[in-house]
């Protein structure tokens, strides 16, 4: 009898899991990252290496810190009063937590997609080229080209090409979310951060986004936070399971869902938690 098991890299709980060599390298290196909201600590010594041009899923029950960790990657937690951090988050040679980091520049390297589609109340075209306009691009041809490219990458071009100057709010929820992805990639980021990108969408629209994610990973590093474990299993290459602010287990998705190492991960992915 032969049984096919996953090919997973060895790992030690609590230490940085380094995805196996042979990939595209590391996009983001999180090292002993701690975060406090006022007096309460939300993240404890999280160390995580996010692979380039791969999809990394952050899973865990509500309050485990996965969204906080995602938001730390583009320093969105800076906007919250009383947040204190220690540790290091490196993108290449740059520690993005450094005081000297230009947060605007940092956020340009990251596209962010939120739980609820948030198109701006303007035309589809204006939405997509928004990041370029903010950058001062006025070249009409460049804007039109970028718009088409981004909409094509977001698999929305066919549906939107004849109504580019209509309000983005006239699109369906799933189309709006793809528009937000188009807008996120129009600025040519390195990393796409997705916080529950499908939780407001129906199953068909969800499948389209998942198909899109699968295509986008050829060009972008994607980090996705999801409550939907099946979605994490379907779309991601690596999965990090977090619980109560700690990284419990990080490994290739295949291993996490077929034979997790930690008892807490096993309980969570099999629905035994609580």
């Amino acid at each position: 009898m032969t049984v096919v098991t996953s090919h997973r890299s060895p790992e030690v709980a609590g230490t940085a899991y380094h995805p196996a060599a042979g990939g595209h390298g590391i996009a983001v290196e999180i090292d002993k990252f701690n975060l406090w909201y006022g007096k309460s600590q939300a993240l404890f010594d999280v160390s995580l290496a996010i692979e380039k041009r791969m999809v990394t899923a952050l899973i865990g029950p509500s309050g485990c810190g996965k969204s906080t960790l995602l938001r730390a990657l583009n320093r969105m937690n800076d906007l919250i009063d009383g947040v204190r951090i220690t540790g290091k988050i490196a993108i290449g040679p740059q520690d993005i937590l450094d005081r000297g980091t230009d947060v605007i520049q940092l956020r340009k390297r990251m596209g962010m997609v939120f739980q609820k589609p948030n198109p701006f109340p303007m035309s589809i075209f204006d939405n997509v080229v928004y990041p370029l306009r903010v950058d001062g691009v006025r070249d009409r041809r460049l804007l039109v080209e970028t718009c088409e490219q981004a909409l094509k990458s977001a698999a929305l071009w066919e549906e939107a090409k004849d109504r580019l100057y209509e309000s983005a709010l006239s699109l369906s929820g799933g189309q709006q979310q793809r528009l937000c992805i188009a807008r996120a990639i129009a600025g040519n980021p390195e990393i796409l951060l997705m916080d529950e990108p499908c939780s407001a969408l129906d199953p068909m629209a969800t499948s389209r986004i998942e198909e899109l994610i699968d295509g986008l990973k050829a060009d972008y590093t994607i980090v996705i936070v999801t409550h939907n474990m099946q979605q994490a299993a379907r779309v991601s290459n690596n999965t990090a399971f977090m619980y109560l602010g700690r990284l419990i287990e990080y490994g290739d998705t295949d291993g996490i869902f077929t034979n997790p190492t930690e008892a807490q991960t096993l309980a969570y992915v099999t629905g035994r938690f609580g």
């Binding site: 009898m1 032969t2 049984v3 098991t5 474990m229 099946q230 299993a233 869902f257 077929t258 034979n259 997790p260 096993l266 309980a267 992915v269 099999t270 629905g271 035994r272 938690f273 609580g274």
Partner: protein, 240 residues
């Protein structure tokens, strides 16, 4: 292992195990009856065994449809998924075991026509070993007992060894007197069926290991059935 948040999921998984237990118990009884029918030349019992095979087949279909339904509705992962995929495979192993038992029963009709053979005792011995393997490997499955599964896995060596011995002596009888060939051939098939039953129990033991540990049993499989290499030697060496 803690229970699932959704209790009906646990109930369904328990139902799968129950079906496998029932199916395994039936197969074990079938083997025991088939061997008894053979030893006692009881064609009525043999007939009953042949007819009862359909029950095992029916449970296999039940296991399969329940398992497929659970996978479709619950999207199980990790140990739950391994358990369900293995349940389908284990049911198929048990179905094979029952088929071999029915085949042994069928040969009772032919063998009851021939003279009595002392070697029936050796056949009964192999059968008892095989029955013990089935019983224990099912216990191992029901209790997630990897140590017991590995113990069963090792016991297959003994079955293979006894089979090889019996093979040699039957071969000798056939060479001594061509009139023995019909009965000895039937006995040989009976013995081979028992040897295969041991292999199926071994396969189930490997699956128990896989379900519980999450990876295949790494040791090399015991293999003592050397009869396939020995035919030439035995034909040249009349002592067998």
């Amino acid at each position: 292992m803690p229970e699932h948040i959704v209790r009906s999921f646990d109930e369904e998984l328990a139902k799968v195990k129950e079906l496998i237990a029932a199916m395994g118990g039936l197969a074990e009884a079938q083997l025991s009856d088939a061997t008894e029918a053979l030893a006692r030349r009881d064609t009525v019992l043999a007939d009953r065994v042949v007819k009862a095979d359909a029950k095992v087949d029916a449970i296999e279909i039940e296991v399969e449809s329940l398992t497929v339904s659970i996978i479709a509705r619950r999207q199980p992962v990790a140990i739950d998924l391994r358990g369900l995929v293995s349940a389908i495979k284990i049911a198929s192993e048990i179905e094979r075991i029952a088929d071999y038992a029915a085949n042994i029963a069928k040969r009772t009709f032919a063998l009851s026509q021939s003279r009595a053979w002392d070697d029936i005792r050796a056949v009964v011995n192999i059968s008892r070993l095989a029955e013990g393997m089935i019983r224990d490997v099912l216990d191992a499955y029901l209790r997630d007992d990897v140590a017991l599964a590995i113990d069963v896995w090792h016991r297959d060596e003994e079955v293979d060894g006894l089979y090889t011995n019996l093979f040699r002596s039957l071969l000798t009888y056939m060479m001594e007197d061509a009139r023995n060939i019909t009965a000895c051939t039937h006995l040989l098939f009976v013995a081979k069926n028992l040897e295969r039953i041991g292999d199926h129990a071994t396969n189930i033991a490997e699956m128990v290991h896989y379900v519980v540990r999450g990876h295949p049993l790494a040791e090399k499989r015991p293999k003592r059935d050397t009869s396939s290499f020995e035919l030439g030697t035995a034909l040249g060496d009349k002592k067998g």
